[in-house]
């Protein structure tokens, strides 16, 4: 009796523990991020409908799968399936199979380069049946896993040149393959890992130099070379003037000045000889879209007109004209922000930006609370990749950034990108939910 009772109690206790474990898992999921995710996906879906909505057709349904909005709903539904799958996979899988996933993705990227299909100038698509898949989208989370994995067992990675080279090779390899596919925009996303490296102790000086080069590059496009060189020389002398005693400082400043002048002089060469004509035009359009509003300036000009015409409150849902009448190109995907700007005005834009800021800050907070380096690095990778997409995508629609064809996460139309971002985000949530166990395991 007693024994039976004990047995029964133990059995009950096990069941209770398992239940509690499941309960714990559900409770430990970061519902704030999940809420933000579904908010963005739903708003994106509504806006995709606003893009395809035709004023002259009476009964258009948002569910119609001949429209982008209907198809996006399929992508959303399958994403929910994906999420369930990700939650069921053991959290240790990502850590253990990080390099394997990375290798598989690299293989895919090579395959697509060899056998892929060319859509809109880039050979980055697999077509299976009626669906097109873009492996480069999935390379992002795999690379993030690989970087996290590498940093998790190389604590002092940023103190050795060798491990730094390996790290840059991990992100460089997919980036180069994607450039070879002809999709420079997606490749540029990999520069977002700089933020992760910074967090993990990479020298801010080198990052600073990188940023300075970019800033200088942009400045040379606006300001004549001669003025810049004069400015550099004058600043150098000011630096030297303050610290005349230290000869080392003088040498450093002189070398830096010469390097800067070299960069300035080389910009012309880079712009005219390295960049492709359409890339040159995108930079020119950024500087002065009015120079050729019907040509290379068209996208930026029309995008700004659409957003600018939204005013404070916007024109209202489905009331946008610029996006509806096809003045803005690629409006379901890369220029989806125009619909927000036009139909929901400054208020709507601010709400959307606010949602993204909340999401990004939340993700950095999640990353910070991880006990393992792997999960933390992965978390920052997610934040960095999403931040890069957010900044570049919105930046280009309002003329603050050259036009680089990358989607707005969770928002833009497209199965590959929605799936890839979903995977990227929910791996983090899975890791986060098990953060206590990860700690145990690491110890």
């Amino acid at each position: 009796m007693y024994g039976e009772n004990t047995n029964g109690r133990i059995h009950f206790k096990r069941r209770f523990l398992r239940l509690r474990e499941q309960n714990n898992f559900i409770n430990r999921l970061d519902w704030g991020v999940i809420l933000l995710y579904f908010l963005l996906v739903a708003l994106g879906w509504l806006n995709i409908f606003a893009v395809v909505f035709d004023v002259q057709q009476q009964d258009q349904s948002i569910f119609d799968i001949s429209l982008n909005s209907g198809r996006q709903l399929i992508w959303i539904a399958t994403s929910v399936g994906l999420i369930t799958l990700l939650m069921l996979i053991d959290f240790r899988f990502y850590d253990s199979f990080a390099y394997l996933l990375y290798a598989a993705v690299i293989l895919f990227l090579i395959f697509v380069l060899l056998f892929g299909r060319e859509i809109a100038g880039s050979k980055s698509w697999f077509t299976i049946g009626g669906f097109s898949l873009q492996p480069s989208e999935f390379a992002k989370f795999a690379t993030a896993l690989a970087v996290a994995k590498y940093l998790s067992h190389n604590n002092k990675a940023f103190e050795s040149i060798r491990s730094q080279i390996i790290l840059f090779a991990i992100i460089g390899l997919p980036a180069i393959l994607i450039i070879l596919q002809g999709d420079t925009g997606t490749a540029m996303v990999y520069s977002a890992f700089a933020l992760v490296f910074y967090r993990e102790g990479f020298s801010p000086l080198l990052l600073g130099i990188g940023v300075a080069v970019v800033v200088l590059f942009v400045l040379t496009l606006f300001i004549p070379q001669l003025y810049l060189i004069i400015a550099v020389v004058v600043t150098s002398f000011l630096f030297i003037g303050i610290n005349t005693k230290k000869t080392k400082r003088i040498v450093t400043v002189a070398v830096a000045a010469v390097a800067v002048i070299c960069v300035i002089v080389s910009v012309d060469f880079i712009v005219t000889d390295v960049l492709k004509p359409h890339q040159q035009n995108r930079i020119k359009a950024l500087i002065n879209p009015d120079a050729d509003p019907l040509g290379y300036g068209w996208n930026v000009t029309q995008s700004k007109i659409a957003i600018g015409s939204g005013g404070f409150w916007g024109k209202g849902f489905l009331e946008g004209t610029q996006t509806k009448f096809d003045f803005v190109p690629e409006q379901s995907t890369d220029f989806i922000f125009c619909t927000i700007g036009e139909e929901h005005g400054w208020i709507g834009s601010m709400v959307l930006i606010g949602l993204f800021v909340l999401l990004l800050i939340r993700i950095t907070a999640i990353a910070e609370r991880q006990k393992s380096t792997f999960a933390r690095v992965y978390g920052y990778s997610v934040a960095a990749i999403l931040f890069f997409h957010f900044a570049v995508n919105i930046g280009m629609t309002i003329g603050l950034f050259p036009v680089i064809g990358i989607p707005l996460p969770f928002f833009s139309y497209g199965g590959s990108s929605l799936w890839a971002f979903t995977i990227l985000l929910f791996i983090l949530l899975k890791l986060d939910a098990h953060r206590m166990q990860i700690l145990n395991r690491a110890q």
């Binding site: 002259q56 102790g201 957003i307 005013g311 009448f325 700007g341 930006i353 606010g354 910070e368 603050l400």
Partner: protein, 603 residues
């Protein structure tokens, strides 16, 4: 390391917030502060489509349609949508060369890549019928219907005028800013005089278009749209059948025929010969036809009834007689000997009274009348006396509507000239001229100049016994049924009605017994007329004014045939036929018609 990195986490968050803040600020700048994007957005999608009103129609006095709007078709092109596989076939279909095609397409592209511009103007109805089935094969090309002025009869060209694209000069002068480049406007004749009434009011439709210019519905549900209001129809005073008949009679001659209804001043026919087909100045061949007409030595574009300034000749003797009666310097019974030593004369007569003098057109009689008029002994000085006389005489003459434009509703009217003392002062010097210097005026020669319209008006004045209405061609505008205000006003001459009797009697005798003017004599209608022959370098010009019937006249007219020989020969014949046709509706005098028709009076 953790310490350092925890400060870095704030740097990262700050970066995120900073970028978001920059976006929000930039968005505020372009969405709220800068309104130019709103304007640009509107100009992107709003296309202003002008609704052209249909131009008013013109009917004749019997309600017959004279001018209407015929559909024509412009071929428009939107260069962006053009996708021509077989240019040669296209060119063949529209009858243009490949070079023209390339040139036109280039011009269209220069104007706009996405907006339609006219590719081929005014495709005729027949061409349209043949091409419309093929158009579906030519994306980017479409047909835009429009209307052109068209004329039911090959008549009245000189009065109707024509329409055409507005000129740069007219655009600049358009202070009301009504017209746009490419608008059609009345260029001459009634079309230009009644432009304001005929043109109607343009409407505007604002529509939304997408980036390819495809219509996407009305802007703001048409709240800003306005309807076009069609132009007002005009009813002309012209009898189109009569007009065409007289134009036929005037074939092969140079000159003019103007007939008026004396009681109203309505112009019944208004012929300038030679004339042309009004349809030739409407449509795509306008410029070619216009320059052809312009270079024609017989000057078909010269509107002779209004612009042909001639000395009036003997018909002016009626005016001299009337003024003299009014001034009391003669009575109907006053006789003067036909002293051919002072001025030449013709025909067997010697001592006529006023009626007889008009009948035989006695030159010495009117020499005497004019002398009495000018020299009345008001001043001791002959020169001054003449000047005073001339001034008083001129006042009377002006009251007949001579010397200034009458104000007909047609452009380019000339007023002629009635000499002033100032003219003679200039010609001969102050106090250096007297009656003997200027006596030619007595018989309608000398410095007198009038236009055929004024001659017809003179006939109307005599028919009315002393008054006239300004001749006009439009009796009713729109539904109002009234002519313009100024054509409803009676103008009296300085001559009392009673003085007209001897003149009318004399004119009746002219037709009854005159040597050449018998051609105007009709069986049942008593016609009053006066011939005139105006000396010319070649054969004399032939003039005839008439009205009929003598009592309660229905028609007054002037016929002027250049080089027509003795006035009676051609002019009186035409006048007779015209009166007969108007009052009786037909003529039985086919011989007379033949005589007039075969007479070629100029080469």
């Amino acid at each position: 390391m953790n310490m350092m990195n925890s400060s870095r986490k704030y740097v990262i968050r700050l970066t995120i917030i900073l970028v978001a803040a920059i976006f929000v600020i930039k968005l505020f700048a372009i969405q709220v502060l800068d309104i130019q994007y709103k304007l640009k957005a509107d100009s992107n999608i709003i296309e202003r489509e002008v609704r052209h009103p249909s131009r008013g129609l013109i009917y004749d006095r019997k309600g017959k349609l004279v001018v209407f709007n015929a559909p024509v078709y412009d071929l428009e092109v939107v260069p962006k949508d053009v996708n021509l596989k077989d240019t040669a076939a296209f060119c063949k279909l529209f009858d243009i060369t490949q070079e023209e095609f390339a040139e036109k397409l280039d011009a269209a592209k220069r104007y706009s890549y996405v907006k339609p511009s006219i590719f081929i103007k005014q495709i005729s109805n027949q061409t349209f019928a043949t091409v419309q089935d093929f158009l579906i094969n030519y994306p980017g090309f479409r047909i835009q219907p429009r209307t052109n002025r068209a004329y039911t009869r090959r008549a009245l060209a000189n009065a109707l005028g024509y329409t055409g694209e507005i000129s740069k000069y007219q655009l600049e002068r358009d202070s009301a800013n009504y017209y746009r480049q490419g608008d059609y406007i009345g260029i001459s004749g009634l079309e230009s005089m009644y432009e304001d009434q005929l043109r109607g009011k343009r409407g505007v439709r604002y529509k939304m278009v997408n980036v390819r210019g495809v219509e996407k519905g009305a802007f703001q549900d048409g709240a800003l749209d306005t309807m076009s209001i069609p132009g007002e129809n005009l009813q002309a005073t012209i009898d189109l059948d009569l007009q065409a008949y007289v134009e036929t009679l005037m074939k092969g001659k140079k000159g003019s025929v103007v007939a008026l209804e004396p009681k109203t001043g309505e112009v019944l026919c208004f012929v300038s010969a030679p004339t042309y087909d009004p349809n030739s100045l409407s449509g795509r061949d306008y410029s070619r036809n216009y320059s052809k007409l312009l270079s024609d030595t017989a000057k078909p574009l010269y509107n002779r009834p209004l612009m042909g300034i001639y000395p009036p000749g003997s018909i002016f003797k009626t005016v001299q007689g009337l003024i003299a009666l009014q001034e009391g310097i003669i009575t109907p019974e006053t006789r003067f000997p036909c002293d051919r030593s002072i001025i030449s004369c013709h025909g067997p007569h010697s001592y006529e009274d006023l009626k007889g003098a008009i009948e035989v057109s006695c030159n010495p009689y009117f020499w005497n009348v004019y002398k009495r008029m000018l020299n009345r002994g008001v001043s001791e000085n002959t020169f001054e006396d003449t000047e005073i006389g001339l001034k008083a005489w001129r006042e009377h003459v002006l009251s007949f509507g001579f010397g200034t434009t009458l104000g007909i509703d047609l452009p380019n009217e000339k007023g002629g000239y009635i000499p002033t003392p100032a003219l003679y002062d200039k010609l001969y010097g102050d106090n250096r001229w007297k009656f003997s210097t200027i006596y030619s005026n007595a018989i309608g020669q000398g410095e007198l100049q009038i236009v055929p319209l004024q001659m017809a008006n003179l006939a109307a004045i005599i028919a009315n016994r002393g008054y006239y209405y300004i001749p006009h061609l439009i009796k009713s505008i729109g539904d109002g049924g009234q002519p313009l205000e100024k054509y409803r006003e009676k103008h009296y001459t300085t001559i009392d009605a009673s003085h007209f009797t001897p003149v009318v009697e004399g004119m009746a005798e002219v037709v009854k017994t005159g040597t050449g003017s018998y051609r105007a004599k009709l069986k049942d209608i008593e016609v009053c007329g006066k011939t005139g022959t105006v000396q010319n370098n070649g054969e004399d010009h032939s003039v005839f004014i008439a009205f009929a019937p003598k009592d309660n006249p229905q028609i007054a007219l002037s016929v002027y045939v250049e080089n027509g020989g003795q006035g009676a020969r051609a002019a009186a014949g035409i006048a007779g036929l015209l009166i007969e046709k108007y009052i009786q509706g037909c003529t039985e005098r086919t011989q007379m018609e033949e005589y007039i028709l075969k007479g070629d009076f100029y080469d």
